[in-house]
Symmetry: C2
Subunit: 202 residues, 2 copies
């Protein structure tokens, strides 16, 4: 194995260790370099061969999370083609992601309103990408007036993310209820935007 390969492998070990140490009770900011290094199986100071900072590692994690988010969107579109019900399918797909990758979703949730401005910006950027892709979809595939697609997409993402956050702490049955609630909210929004949206006074 070449040295570059070994290095890349260790880098992944660090990233995976960091993700693994996130939990409902432990956010990125309370991760310590030493603990991450320990879990990755390297000496504390070796960490610096791969990242200048814990911050640099954190931004890498956010990037990876954003990537997963975009993959999720494509997956949802796939399912919609076969299934039909746009809103329901989208929300159910999202909920599966949240439950199956709760650490990743939690990272985004927390750093979105976290204490580091660079982190907040990084998360905002990822979510904005997500919104933009959704807005494109709304323009192409639904009755939403073009000029309101962006605003509608943002509202939808806000509501769905919030539902995801609620679902993280919820029992499976409560989670169904949250899903149901969110479907209702998004339908109202879609209906309102399609009709009333044409004349948003002032």
């Amino acid at each position: 194995m070449t040295r570059a390969q070994q290095k890349e492998r260790t880098r992944r070990a660090i990233i995976d260790a960091a993700f693994a140490q996130l939990s409902p009770d432990k956010g990125f900011s309370s991760l310590s370099l030493r603990e991450v290094a320990r879990e990755a199986g390297i000496a504390p100071t070796s960490f610096y061969r791969h990242f200048a900072d814990m911050d640099e590692l954190g931004l890498t994690l956010v990037d990876e999370a954003g990537l997963m988010l975009r993959q999720l969107l494509r997956q949802a579109r796939h399912r919609i083609e076969k299934n039909g019900s746009v809103i329901r399918t989208s929300i159910e797909t999202f909920m599966e992601f949240v439950v199956g990758n709760s650490n990743v979703f939690r990272l985004l949730l927390r750093e979105r309103s976290g204490t580091s401005a660079p982190f907040r910006r990084a998360v905002a950027r990822e979510i904005q990408h997500f919104c933009a892709e959704l807005a494109d979809y709304l323009r192409k595939e639904t009755a939403c007036p073009d000029e309101f697609a962006q605003v509608q997409a943002e509202a939808m993402v806000t509501l769905v993310f919030h539902a995801g956050a609620d679902a993280l702490d919820a029992s499976p049955e409560l989670r169904l209820q949250i899903t149901h609630r969110t479907i209702t909210q998004l339908r109202w929004l879609a209906h309102g935007a399609a009709g009333y949206g044409r004349r948003p006074k002032e």
Copy 2:
């Protein structure tokens, strides 16, 4: 001055010191007992005469923040009586609160998706109170069907809180744009809930 009064005064000094040390770059979890004590003008160990834990102090802060939130709602109702435009007035009132008490609002935002389950629950409880009061208002004063008032209120609060979070990092002009966007979103929602809401299929 009686001893009880002096104690209460120190207690307030601690609470105020904690609020003062919150900032865009520093959340509650990264507050240290020692620093708070220093700012409150007492020795580190004297802290324990007032709170068992930092956690206990934190929950007290959340309580106070919730109180302010409810006062805000009353203030908004006052203004609406004189002004008429329900949605616009409410959002503008909320935005003033966010900008004028950014530390308080940030506390709620962060601890809502924070690392401590008790904190999350405490914030959720405060926000739920807020939602319930708003739902009451919607039932009494608007065309919203009774059985959907709660779901609508939750969506509205979600969107408005999110707008507040965005506004925290925004320039004044961007803040206006956010306000405008949120007004549009809430109007869609209200319209959708009043019409389409009567038949939310499945």
